[in-house]
Symmetry: C2
Subunit: 559 residues, 2 copies
């Protein structure tokens, strides 16, 4: 290998094409692109409508084994596979999520992909990008202000101020805002009550934006948000406050998908970024469905491992959007499988074929799970320079034993040239037309049974336990007409169980439900099985302390 | 007059040119423009540096009599005069402030100018525009999060949590956030303390952005912000938390001036928008100084009436930026002068020459005041259809009696054709080179004496009264090296006195100082003389309730 370059050095050296050229490669006329600088653009809603009747391209989901601190490189593989498919002559677009601003100031991070499989402009994507998250923040907080304003002016809707469930949001890691008392200061400022802030990606507005099929659907969904309850427990909706129109106006640009490019100048839609625990963790339906109209292949990803991310992609996003995924790619790394096999992080550099083989049980479980949705899959081994041939062989052998196939991918080091094999296999699977996609459960199954179905069939749990209050709540929602909603599980991403330390492929465990919430606008029931943090804090030495422009005018410390 | 059209109808019918053409008219190359859509762009910092050594054009300030509910049309006249100067062959750019998002959802409002003297795209300018205010909000709140995070992790700087003066901001009218208790919820969330939110335009970051000469100056000023005090009352600065670098990175695009156009396709810089009470109320120095390098004439405006807006423009912005204004235009209307003459709002439609003549005392005071700064002025009568000839004559007579001139301007109805006379007069005054601009007081005058100078010479007060604590504070700042800062008066805009109901040209009153604050980063001492609201509330029936997209896809209710 030649001189080692960091992600940001590679990104800065990118030979970007004007965004209009990228759009043209997908047949998007220049006047249907709203430019944000020379390398970012939004695709106009009118153009999106105009291609609605075209046939869809093939849809490829990139998912992964349970994440470990060793990293598995799901986004990197999504980007790499997109470039690889383009390389072998398939017109391909990728669809990924936008980054949240807040966490960038906590620990060094950011980046969309890595090595020679990245999306650019990296710096803008990790800062304000096209302003979508700011618009979502504003729309969310407008509704919050209107709720307290309604209470202040007489509370005609009889909102119980102890039961306002609509918090505020900020796109910042700010633990001091997790729990506050607001409306203090006397009669001029309202009625004191408890409240708090979540980070913007946890906003139901984010989930709604990502699940809306167009701007009318967006407005209707916003109207359906439950913001509070009365003393008699009856819900108060966003539409009762007439806030959905103004919120939609605030989101008029945010709902249009963003187009950028990979390092190899292939089109990338980067749009939306809901939490993958209390929300469904996928980029917007608008981006995915638009890309499918414009490209032969669309490669997209889902949050966390396949037990959470792929399940929600299939059961929530695909169900709502009517998407039929053709192939799933399950990303694994030697290092992450080693950790699943019990190796400590500091020992990852040492060859350990046995641990890899042991850790493969985690991979196997995900292969089986994806199969349950009727979607053919292939394993992508995201190659690290420390991997040994014997370790790689162990994974490939295991995949074969599962009736699958694992392919070594070197896109991080070599870009599209390193991932041609995977690209060919994906095309083979897609063009065979073998996918028989169906969600895991039907709309009409009882809510608790839906939870049990996910817990038993995907997590391989023995049972789901829940207090009477929770079961009553689920039945109450069924009675109120919400019985057809899918489930959005909020569970640790590190394990099939609710204990983050249990790696591998456990069985026979119990899934205790701590709480259930309804996202009536987004259209799912959130089932919380552990401590869910919707507002992160900053670490002792936040990266914000070292982020700055250096003397060459380059941003330091952000990556 | 033909069929009456609303501002928004006129704005929507605008025949906009591509923003690159507008830039080209000022000699800005296309690659120095960062487009935001097809009708908005930011001017690159590198280009701005490259024109730094050019000669400046002429600088025209548009200010006004004390505002009344009748409206005086300062922005409309700024836009109209810009178009008028272009019409008579002077290459002219206008510089105005950006609109705040929050108030748009309270009462119908927005718009930049009115009638046939507007800046477009109106809708974007009243929504997210190019995201500057969102970036300011994020930078401000990052610093806030870093303060509480520092306290959480051990408080090495020994911040007194009772004396954190850096609040949070949101670009929303949200009275419930005025006073809060934060960091509740136990040990994981920090140390409970009192805090609150202001609206973004009240952020010192906004004032700093508008007073910075370049990105390095911005970073230094951010570092100088005082965020809290220790128990021994010594200040803790933003730079003690190392936040200024990351804040600057967040503001990298926001500091670049925005270019848009008037209805007549003339260039308009719209950049920054600090409060005109606790801050100086002018668009950014970067926009004004850049425009001066590119145009023969630059027309800009200042907030409120000349007693506040022009005084701060001269004593803060011009002092800091080394600007030498050539001409001031004082906007008045028959209706507003009638109100100053004692007429109630409901009687404004009836001719009342006597009231107009009486109200002219307010105008006269502003003419005298502008003269004190050595700047020649002319009065623009912004014509309303209900004005009678006799009323207009009364103003013109009065102006002559003051050694000035008042010119009737019909730009609202007729665009640039209606304001040619004023344009010619402005050119005459500017080219005569009569301006002998000097700020009202020197840097080295004692702080209390600076306040007295403004109160006595501009407001014509008899005396300034202040508690010992306030005088001690001013002396303490002098001892700490802040004695050379200018004063930023926060006073009601409706009167020369501190009583909003006293119209006309009062004398002999007292100016009581309620509080003094330091904006060490922006570089001024804020002197508060009444109740200052830094977080507005929404009205009983906020316009947000009726804002929506109608069936034609047009935004309703925002204007």
């Amino acid at each position: 290998m030649a001189e080692f370059k960091t992600d940001i050095e590679i990104a800065r050296a990118a030979n970007k094409k004007p965004i209009a050229e990228i759009g043209a490669s997908l047949g998007i006329p220049a006047d249907a692109l709203l430019p944000y600088g020379h390398d970012k653009a939004k695709v106009s809603g009118d153009f999106i409508k105009s291609v609605r009747d075209r046939e869809d391209g093939k849809l490829v989901l990139v998912t992964a084994i349970n994440p470990t601190p060793a990293g598995e490189g799901k986004t990197t593989t999504t980007v790499g596979l997109g470039d690889g498919l383009n390389r072998i002559g398939k017109k391909t677009a990728i669809c990924i999520r936008e980054a949240s601003l807040g966490p960038c100031f906590g620990v060094k991070g950011g980046a969309a992909g890595g090595g020679y499989a990245q999306v650019v402009p990296m710096e803008d994507m990790n800062l304000h990008f096209t302003g979508d998250f700011h618009a979502i923040t504003a729309a969310h907080n407008l509704l919050a202000a209107m709720i307290d304003n309604h209470i202040y002016w007489g509370n005609e809707l009889e909102i119980d101020i102890r039961r306002v469930v609509w918090r505020r949001v900020v796109d910042m890691n700010d633990r001091a805002l997790r729990e506050i008392v607001l409306s203090l200061g006397g009669a001029a400022n309202g009625f004191p009550r408890e409240g708090g802030f979540d980070i913007t990606v946890a906003s139901e507005v984010m989930a709604i934006l990502c699940l809306s099929t167009d701007i009318n659907d967006l407005e209707e969904r916003l109207g359906r948000i439950i913001v509070a309850y009365r003393r008699d427990k009856s819900p108060v909706y966003c539409r009762d406050l007439n806030a959905q129109g103004a919120m939609t106006v605030l989101l008029k640009d945010a709902i249009e998908p963003n187009l950028v490019q990979t390092l190899e100048n292939n089109p990338a839609f980067v749009h939306g970024g809901p939490f993958a625990n209390i929300a469904h963790g996928c980029n917007s339906i608008m981006a995915t469905t638009t890309a499918l109209k414009l490209a032969d292949y669309v490669v997209t990803e889902a949050g966390f491992g396949a037990d959470l991310g792929a399940e929600k992609f299939f059961d929530i996003k695909c169900r709502k959007a009517g998407l039929k995924p053709d192939v799933a790619v399950i990303v694994a790394t030697v290092r992450a499988l080693k950790m699943n096999g019990g190796v400590a992080r500091e020992d990852l550099g040492t060859e350990n074929v046995e641990a890899v083989a042991k850790g493969c049980a985690n991979l196997g479980r995900h292969i089986e799970n994806v199969r349950q949705f009727g979607v053919p899959s292939v394993v992508a081994i995201n190659h690290f320079h420390s991997d040994t041939d014997a370790e790689l062989e162990a994974i490939m052998d295991y995949a074969r034993s599962m009736g699958s196939e694992a392919i070594v991918c070197r896109h991080w080091a070599d870009g599209s040239a390193g991932i041609e094999d995977l690209a060919h296999r994906v095309v083979e699977l897609a063009e065979a037309g073998a996918s028989q996609f169906a969600p895991l459960y039907g709309d009409d199954v009882a809510l608790f049974e839906k939870i049990e179905t996910i817990a038993k069939r995907i997590y391989r749990a023995e049972e789901v336990i829940a207090d009477k209050a929770i079961r009553d709540q689920l039945r109450a929602w069924e009675a109120a007409g919400y019985g057809d909603l899918p489930i959005c599980m909020a569970k640790t991403q590190y394990s099939f169980t609710t204990d983050p330390l249990v790696r591998g492929a456990p069985t026979g465990h119990t899934v205790p439900i701590r709480e259930v919430r309804i996202s009536a606008g987004a259209g799912f029931i959130v089932v919380i099985t552990g401590a869910i943090m919707t507002m992160p804090g900053l670490p002792r030495a936040p990266s914000a302390e070292v982020i700055r422009f250096n003397d060459e005018g380059l941003i330091e410390g952000l990556f």
